[in-house]
Symmetry: C3
Subunit: 214 residues, 3 copies
């Protein structure tokens, strides 16, 4: 089964998914910029940082410089394309932003980024616990920078099961591959599904984490 | 013409211009700190980050660590001098802050930083498109960090042709040197003039980028 | 006196102090998160960034990647433990937060971080002036990131002798070891005491730095 041809096919699927996630996150960032009364430049900055900010922070922290999305111009091009799409078709994009489809796609993107981030951290020799943290940062870092640019408290710190879903997914992946010795692809699948299911369930059920005095 | 003596002279001119830009940006950062009711320490922090923050972010992103303005103590010394000057002579400095002279000097500093940043990014092997982005970050990154410290939405994301002028200048430089094969000095000159002229024209004419719903 | 056994003992004391400082800063960060209506995830993020953020920024700036607190999982574990303690015992922790004991422990942590940060910067070949700056960043950087996450102007930029105490301590240490040629341990002690005393005196006397128009 594990022929070079299959592997090349799998790599292509993963790269396509990574680019698709980047495009979607960029469009969501751009939309937040439009809502925040940014001009075209600001909208494109938010598209770019939302899409690739998490990966850049991860790469700086694990010492993988220059970060992948600075070295490979295609991420930047996709992010700017996403930003332009959201700018031009903002009416349609805004209408769909909280649809079930977009929520599911966003959850898929979050799962992918969290798993990919934790995997890369393990490859760079990070401790499993830190790999989980770095996977979470990969998934949520871009949105956090976007919220700081918009001068609001990062949403993931106050509401929703979003970062926690990324954390769970990364943890399931790291435990599966390191403690349970599962094949990396299976571990990634288990982690990704955990993140996706927790995120979708929590949106559906309106779950949130405990707070004090709330 | 291209004798070592001439080259040394040109390097000296560039270094002087870089230091002068650092001093000016530091004074503008300090002034923003004074307006934001910062204490002396905060004013010096804003002077430092406004002056060298863009270059530091660029150097971290291209993997040129430690960043130039951390390795070379003179940038820090100049930034703190600028901050102290603005603190002591704040009345005079504040009066001049929106004069034509300061607007022109600031546009010159922006041009210089954008061109120098894009050049360094090319030297570190970045893709031309990313070099344009990194030049823009060099020019505007310091002011963006300053605005985040002041708890406001970064000005460049919402108003004015400022970052866009830096982007244009960096793009003209990169295209001139890579596609048109101009001599680097000529390309830098063309880029710098483009940035300067667009910035000054847009201040004069009150131009701004398109927004949605505005 | 300077036997390997003594040195090992000293290293253990320093490591213990470093871990204790990390725990205390994490609890303070978590408390700020509770006050800011963060959920459990946000509280733990604030605990982590307050405790290790300053050291991470220093390590990125001096090119010591991956940063110590990313490479060594124990810092993260301690920070998260501190955050959980503050979450569970928040009533007791909040009551003690402005007591003389906690103020003194916090001042001790600040002193330790500032001295350790400046020492590491010197070891990485930074100029003495930049080492002082990097020591200050190590002491105050975490709290600055915490304040940005909480969407407030970083406290150290506006009020109190806090960053200035870290700056003084780092400066005394650097001058002692470089200009006065004191033994590094003595220099560290002199610097740490300077920071601690200035901080405690300024809390007691209500000192603050000059401002314009205040």
């Amino acid at each position: 089964m594990d022929t070079p041809k299959l592997r090349r096919g799998l790599d292509l699927v993963l790269l396509t998914a990574d680019f698709a996630g980047t495009l979607l996150f960029a469009m969501e960032g751009a939309l937040a910029g439009i809502r925040g009364a940014m001009d075209l430049f600001g909208i494109l900055v938010l598209a770019f940082t939302t899409a690739v900010g998490g990966g850049i922070v991860r790469d700086l922290l694990i010492g993988a410089t220059p970060p992948a999305s600075i070295k490979d111009w295609r991420y930047g091009a996709i992010a700017i394309t996403g930003g332009m799409l959201a700018f031009v078709f903002h009416g349609t994009v805004a209408q769909q932003a909280s649809s079930v489809l977009i929520t599911a796609l966003d959850a898929a993107g979050l799962s992918l980024f969290a798993i990919a981030g934790a995997t890369k951290a393990l490859e760079f020799g990070m401790h499993p616990m830190m790999a989980v943290l770095l996977g979470t940062i990969t998934g949520c870092g871009g949105g956090t920078i976007r919220d700081i640019f918009l001068n609001t408290i990062p949403g993931i710190l106050r509401t929703d099961i979003y970062a926690s879903a990324a954390l769970l997914g990364a943890a399931v992946m790291v435990i599966s591959v390191r403690a349970l010795r599962l094949h990396p692809s299976l571990a990634a699948l288990a982690g990704g599904i955990s993140c996706f299911v927790l995120r979708m369930l929590s949106v559906w059920q309106g779950w949130s984490l405990p707070k004090i005095g709330a």
